[in-house]
Symmetry: C2
Subunit: 483 residues, 2 copies
């Protein structure tokens, strides 16, 4: 989902009344980012509070490449990483993930081996349908075991766009919340639903209800579901004791637009890129009785902050034996403070850009290669900023391209290198970048090796269902990451 998909962020159809109301009852973050323009690294960053280059969710197979966890990925979240649910356990929290895990699907990466007490959802995205020969369909787990597969037991009709997955995930959330409230146990619910990723779907009740087509139907269903979750918290009388945060893991996938992809408003490009459209996210904090209603924050925020902020809410400290990139947002949320901190934009282990205050400096620019672009892979459809949305990897480390995101949120007008403003801003930014690079200790890259043998052939529980598939011979190879 992209920044521009919400009514409150100017989507012209204005079809997200529940999220808009969530914002009017809570706090809207206008300058909130993901840690990576792609799903898996972004989610690993959220749960570890650390940049992907530190927690291992990146590749070194080629320069400045986005990578994630497809079915044949060998790597996943390292045991050495401390995940938010692992830490929350110390404060007595019950942790549940509903939806897409995406931090590795081999046994050692199972979310319940990394702090979650319950899981309902899938390890990978709902790509398919596959033939279970060249590629197995993606399993859906309940806790330790697979209970079915997408397209087989969990239907997705690609012709009509109908699937009731979001309704299933909603019901799981409501049930979990009820159970926790009944047992008076504190809880962490990571509602990481699989929509609105392509192939896009919505349940029957929402099909055809949006001005925006199928993608809009999916957004409306999510909006409706979030409204139901918030009302459920209120009905149970625990809304003033429950912190809720809504955001997305990357910008809208413009490559799939308009039928299967959303909007990043007026920001440049989308998912896969380190322009604002790829990494600036819709973000709303909600906590009635604590967060002033209708608040708006210009705090530079990041999904990694949810790690540190959640620990803070639970009265816990973040680990002190490692670099944590997330900050505690509570002073921004509860007292309206502005905390000075940079935002880093990475592809692979290359820092492509950095934001300091309202300035954003691009040290590298790249949308994708001419080769991919000529095949129709376009991350910036209808947009073309000369020298900025480049199709070759352009190095600007000696003289970064600088934008003022207040005057120019669309990254269309680089500042003149000769201007005083450029000089002053870059002096400040250079210090931040130097310090960042000097102290950077990259983790072991997890997204380098792919092997068909590690795919979801026989997840635990497959015997009971008669759904164990034949695993091919192991043949590990470097994964190909074209972008």
């Amino acid at each position: 989902m992209g920044w521009g998909d919400l009514g409150v962020f100017g989507e012209p159809s204005k079809e997200t009344p529940n999220l808009d109301q969530m914002a009017s009852e809570g706090m809207l973050f206008l300058d909130f980012y993901t840690a990576n323009p792609l799903c898996s690294p972004s989610r690993a960053a959220l749960l570890t509070g650390r940049l992907p280059v530190r927690n291992g969710f990146y590749t070194t197979n080629a320069h400045a490449r986005n990578a994630y966890t497809p079915q044949d990925i060998v790597g996943g979240i390292p045991d050495s990483e401390l995940l938010l649910p692992e830490l929350l356990k110390k404060a007595g929290y019950t942790n549940k993930i509903i939806g897409k895990w995406h931090l590795g699907h081999r046994p050692q990466f199972h979310p319940m081996k990394h702090g979650f007490d319950e899981w309902f959802g899938s390890p990978n995205c709902h790509f398919g349908p596959f033939d279970n020969r060249a590629l197995p369909n993606i399993p859906v787990y309940r806790d330790w075991e697979m209970i079915g597969r997408y397209y087989e037991d969990f239907k997705i009709d690609l012709k009509t766009g109908e699937a009731n997955l979001t309704q299933i995930y909603l019901q799981e959330a409501l049930d979990f919340i009820s159970k926790q409230q009944a047992s008076q146990q504190p809880f962490f619910l990571y509602w990481a639903i699989d929509a609105t990723h392509a192939p896009v779907y919505a349940s029957k009740h929402f099909l055809g209800t949006s001005q925006r087509g199928l993608y809009g139907d999916a957004v409306r269903e999510i909006d409706d579901s979030i409204g139901k979750i918030l009302k459920h918290l209120q009905k149970l009388g625990i809304s003033e004791n429950t912190f809720v945060f809504f955001t997305s893991d990357n910008g809208a996938a413009l490559i799939s637009a308009p039928k299967q992809g959303g909007s990043n408003g007026r920001f440049l490009c989308g998912k896969q890129t380190t322009f604002e459209g790829g990494m600036r996210e819709p973000a709303i904090a909600w906590w009635p009785g604590h967060i002033p209603a209708g608040g708006v924050s210009h705090q530079l925020g990041n999904v990694m902050d949810l790690f540190t902020t959640s620990l803070s809410l639970a009265g816990l400290q973040p680990p002190s034996d490692r670099q944590i990139d997330g900050i505690d947002l509570l002073p921004a949320i509860l007292q309206g403070k502005l905390i000075d901190r940079p935002i880093f934009y990475y592809r692979g282990n290359e820092m492509m850009a950095v934001r300091v205050g309202l300035y954003k400096a691009h040290y590298w620019t790249w949308s994708n290669s001419w080769e991919e672009y000529s095949k129709g892979v376009d991350f910036c459809p209808g947009q073309n900023v000369s020298g900025v949305t480049t199709h070759t990897q352009e190095e600007h480390t000696a003289l970064p391209l600088l934008f003022h995101l207040g005057r120019d949120p669309g990254e269309k007008y680089p500042l003149s290198f000769a201007s005083d403003e450029y000089q002053r801003a870059m002096e400040q930014i250079s210090v931040v970048v130097r310090q960042h690079k000097v102290t950077m200790v990259p983790g072991e890259p997890q997204l380098n090796v792919c092997d068909k043998a590690v795919m979801n052939w026989s997840p635990p529980g497959c015997e009971k269902l008669g759904k164990c598939l034949k695993q091919p011979k192991s043949d590990p190879k470097k994964c190909i990451w074209p972008h």
Copy 2:
């Protein structure tokens, strides 16, 4: 000002708290248009309720050209046109225009000859400073007479961007409203301020206060002024008896962005074009106690509707001896009805595009010529949709380019000509267009002839000020309209 310049429409700095509040207390129009992508024709349409091609505010000098009322224009609003204030007089209204008139500056076009009782402002835009030899500075009028000139008596500092014009126009508005309330006279105030047109200015108090630079400072000053006007109405106890509508006369001038031009959000291109960025406008209706607070309307609206709606509010009927294009919006505003009506997008006397429901069909596409574009005149900076933002005039009358503005508000993905959806939509649209063209009776074009002799050399009142300038010999010529 553009659609994307307001916080409530997703401007990322969210710096228009008063307009956002006006929307939350009133009704936001998401699908509201101007009648032309340029100032003068748009304003003539607002005041006559008629398309520029009917009221004469267009040119036939070349095909599909935008035209307005620069200093050397010979034409202006014809006497045969009935303006809103002329009609409101019949219901006892006192009518005042504050700010830019722009419907012709020769004596016969004076706003007080066309129904206004009072005027404070200028006949043309605040271009300058001029040398008063080749070009005179633009006069500022109080009622019948010039009381000074821009840059001379009404300072605009182009270096610092400082000018207190908006403050002066605000004070005029507050005074007029107070006077009318004191005398218990109904009033029509046309607060047609000159900002945010380039060269952009703001008063000292607002300079440097926006994240968006000088343009944002100007927007903030307008926002603040509107807040003060609304509060004034409330303080005087007449807010429940006063209908207020906020909108703009064309999309943001992207040619002047980012320093001197605003944002059209995610819409394509800007001022001068018949893409959404050129003609979709921010629009808010406010009338406490009558309009439900926080309402949102998808009614297709147009500035011309303000003519008919205002007459309706005053209990008057629109003239029946001519074609009126504006509709009465009150059923949409007060009862939430959706009235079926098309939107026409013109350049000169060429119907470039039409919107029917969520479909928009382009019969002609053109941004500007290669010649102008090569000189740096770019109405779509950073945007380029192949075959759509064309630099030659492309005729599509046989097979119009069709967009679905719900799925594709950015006009990036024309529908396939072969699709059933295209066929169905075009059948419906063709009927609307045929009917429109058959009944169209163009007015006498007013914007064809230019003559240096008609410039603001010696406006009435110049003698008292010693500001009469020498008028050159008359030499009427065809005006050059490059776009």
